[in-house]
């Protein structure tokens, strides 16, 4: 067999195949429910209801989507340039640490939020700068270095929480002191449990979209990602573009941690992120790296998680079904997207 480019793929193909991928994922979900001895339709219904069934459920889903939008954007921006930033998890924690350092009394009121947001972005950017410089200067593969940095960062957070950043009132739990009220992100609507981090995430998505489609940097990022040799030949400063991409990506990922601490939790603990950095990869890929699509897929992915938690409590199917479904969706989707552009032919 051989793959052949389809000159003008039909609309049915472009929409139908990704839809088929989602349907197939649904099929896998039902199969897993059957394996777990539950009624497949009941399980799907419970996931849907758990994610969207009530005002409370919807707010929970949107809250859960907020860090995923940020990490999804971070991955989408980087992958566009074929910069394989798998270190969003570490950059997220860098942002969270900054939120605690600046938010627990070091800075006075009106300044604290914008300053700590900016500083968090810088911290995340700085964390990705190392791997990207190793890539551009020495040719060290950034996949492995960013992955390894995730583990180092988690150990660093653990050290901070057991040492210098430990909450003296924490009754022995490894967590940081609480943020002062001025350093907390307010709720969007009083009385509804949804903080401004969500709004900021959407603003960030729009901003990334504008950068990608309207600016020279966006043009350069796309060109470098698709064909660095041609970009270099045309006079684009390929390495500088990669560094700028890294700064943007690392900064966005850091905002995820910053908004979780400042918006939701109010303090830092080592279970702040249940793998938001890695899930960001799924969010970005499902969105085909489109920044506005990231918002949609992040809410979808968050819904699966929130819904699965609720379903698990009711139906007894392990919550890890959510992780399996998302990984399956990722693999089905990349295959479906390929087949919208190529077809399999004999010989």
């Amino acid at each position: 067999m051989r793959l052949e480019t389809i000159p003008n793929p039909s609309a049915a193909r472009k929409v139908g195949l990704p839809a088929l991928a989602l349907l197939a994922t649904l099929g896998v979900a039902m199969l897993l429910a059957l394996i777990a001895g539950a009624n497949p339709f009941a399980v799907l219904g419970q996931i849907a209801r758990g994610a969207l069934g009530s005002k409370l459920a919807i707010l929970e889903t949107l809250n859960r989507a907020t860090p995923l939008i940020f990490t999804g954007l971070a991955v989408a921006v980087a992958f566009r340039a074929k910069l394989w930033n798998i270190g969003a998890e570490a950059q997220l924690y860098a942002g969270a640490i900054v939120a605690v350092v600046l938010g627990t009394g070091a800075l006075g009121s009106p300044l604290v939020l914008p300053v700590s947001a900016g500083a968090a972005m810088l911290a995340g950017a700085a964390l990705l700068l190392g791997p990207v410089l190793l890539k551009t200067r020495l040719g060290v593969d950034e996949v492995v270095t960013t992955l390894l940095l995730n583990f180092i960062m988690l150990l660093f957070v653990s050290y901070l929480l057991e040492g210098p950043m430990k909450d003296p009132m924490g009754m022995g739990w490894p967590k940081s002191p609480a943020l002062i009220p001025e350093a907390r992100l307010p709720r969007i609507v009083e009385g509804l449990r949804l903080h401004w981090g969500f709004a900021l995430a959407i603003i960030a998505a729009v901003a990334v979209w504008v950068i990608q489609t309207r600016t020279t940097l966006g043009f350069e990022i796309r060109a470098v990602g698709q064909n660095p040799e041609a970009a270099r030949f045309a006079g684009m400063p390929v390495n500088a573009v990669l560094v700028k991409t890294a700064l943007l990506s690392g900064g966005l990922a850091a905002l995820a941690g910053w908004s979780e601490v400042a918006g939701l939790k109010g303090h830092l603990s080592s279970d702040l992120s249940p793998g938001f950095g890695y899930t960001g990869i799924i969010v970005a890929m499902l969105a085909l790296l489109h920044p506005l699509g990231v918002v949609v897929t992040a809410i979808f992915v968050a819904g699966i998680f929130v819904g699965s938690d609720a379903m698990s409590r009711a139906a007894g199917v392990p919550t890890y079904i959510a992780d399996m479904l998302l990984a399956t969706a990722l693999l089905f989707m990349v295959l479906a997207i390929l087949l919208t552009k190529m077809r399999v032919v004999r010989g």
């Binding site: 067999m1 051989r2 793959l3 052949e4 897993l32 394996i35 777990a36 394989w84 798998i86 190793l134 020495l138 040719g139 060290v140 593969d141 996949v143 492995v144 270095t145 992955l147 390894l148 940095l149 583990f151 180092i152 150990l155 660093f156 653990s158 050290y159 057991e162 040492g163 890695y278 990869i281 799924i282 890929m285 007894g316 199917v317 392990p318 919550t319 890890y320 079904i321 992780d323 399996m324 998302l326 990984a327 399956t328 990722l330 693999l331 990349v334 295959l335 390929l338 032919v345």
Partner: protein, 314 residues
């Protein structure tokens, strides 16, 4: 300082080094085969998890230990099949597919564990492989203690030898080395690029899974979720460090294991009282990054690594 010397000359230290190196050697050989054939397999971390889980679960369900190893290998090969179908004939991004396979394999292990053992709070134990008594060798002073290892460790070294022999001494190895360098050369000589690459990924994934199973069947006696803990990523660094050569990669794994064994022991010394233990735990990861930096631009990367081959491409 003398404490460190004491550690370095003790037989128990070297026994630990060889034990720690064993799963790394197995998984590194697996990754090396894949990469020599031109496929980067980022599924390694998850495949090690699935190997650790399935091997352990098989034994927990009453299979013999070697049966557990076989089950782990089969499970790894299954995920290798998934990886290779997507990356070889379909030529999808090896980065994305590899991460997807890692996420899927890890989630599958967690899901199955929770499903099969819904109630347990502390993970149940099995009876793992015991150190092998080798007449003559095991009675030697010092060496006998250092080489007091399980059969799976001996198997790891045998696998490394087999991989090296196959790569450099057989027509199959010749074809593997060629397909990672220029798949068109292999195709023009009547061999199947798809077959060789898929085979390499499937067999390599099987070895990774056995590396994972080593953790549950030989090193520890139970399965817990975070047990692989980045070892897969470290193995990818070891392949680079070993310049895609089995011998050098084994040496790298041993060197690496030595540092790991040392940091565990240093934690018990005066140094451990001064420095936070997290620094010691971070050492393997820092070391891996250092290894990557040292070997950058020196090693000869297989020229077609991460380049999909589509014979119709014009």
């Amino acid at each position: 300082m003398s404490e460190i010397v004491d550690i370095l000359i003790s037989a128990s230290f070297w026994a630990a080094v060889i034990r720690i190196a064993s799963p790394l050697i197995l998984a590194t050989m697996g990754e090396l085969i894949c990469e020599r054939a031109g496929v980067l397999n980022l599924g390694i971390e998850g495949i090690m998890v699935i190997g650790a889980f399935t091997g352990w679960m098989a034994v927990y369900q009453g299979m013999p230990l070697w049966g557990g190893v076989a089950v782990a290998m089969a499970a790894g090969m299954l995920f290798g099949l998934l990886h290779s179908v997507l990356t070889v004939p379909f030529g999808l991004s090896q980065h994305v597919v590899g991460l997807g396979v890692t996420l899927l394999a890890t989630a599958s292990a967690s899901f199955a564990y929770r499903l099969m053992l819904p109630q347990v709070t502390s993970p149940p134990k099995i009876t793992p492989f015991q150190p092998l008594y080798i007449p003559g060798l095991s009675d030697l002073p010092w060496l006998g203690a250092a080489l007091s290892q399980t059969a799976l460790t001996w198997a790891a070294f045998a696998v490394a030898g087999l991989v090296a022999f196959t790569l450099y001494r057989t027509p199959l190895g010749l074809a593997l080395r060629a397909v990672g360098e220029n798949p068109a050369a292999v195709e023009a000589q009547g061999l199947s690029v798809t077959g060789l690459r898929m085979g390499a990924v499937i067999v390599g994934s099987g070895l990774m899974a056995v590396g994972g199973a080593f953790l549950t069947l030989s090193a520890f006696s139970s399965f817990f979720f975070e047990m692989v803990n980045g070892r897969g990523w470290i193995c990818i660094a070891l392949v680079v460090f070993g310049a895609w050569k089995p011998g050098k990669a084994v040496l790298g794994a041993i060197l690496f294991a030595a540092f790991d064994a040392l940091q565990i022991r240093l934690q018990q010394t005066a140094l451990g009282a001064v420095l936070p233990y997290q620094l010691f735990l971070a050492l393997p990861f820092l070391l891996s990054i250092l290894a990557l930096i040292l070997m950058s631009r020196r090693a000869e990367v297989p020229a077609a690594l991460m380049v999909p081959y589509n014979k119709g491409e014009r």
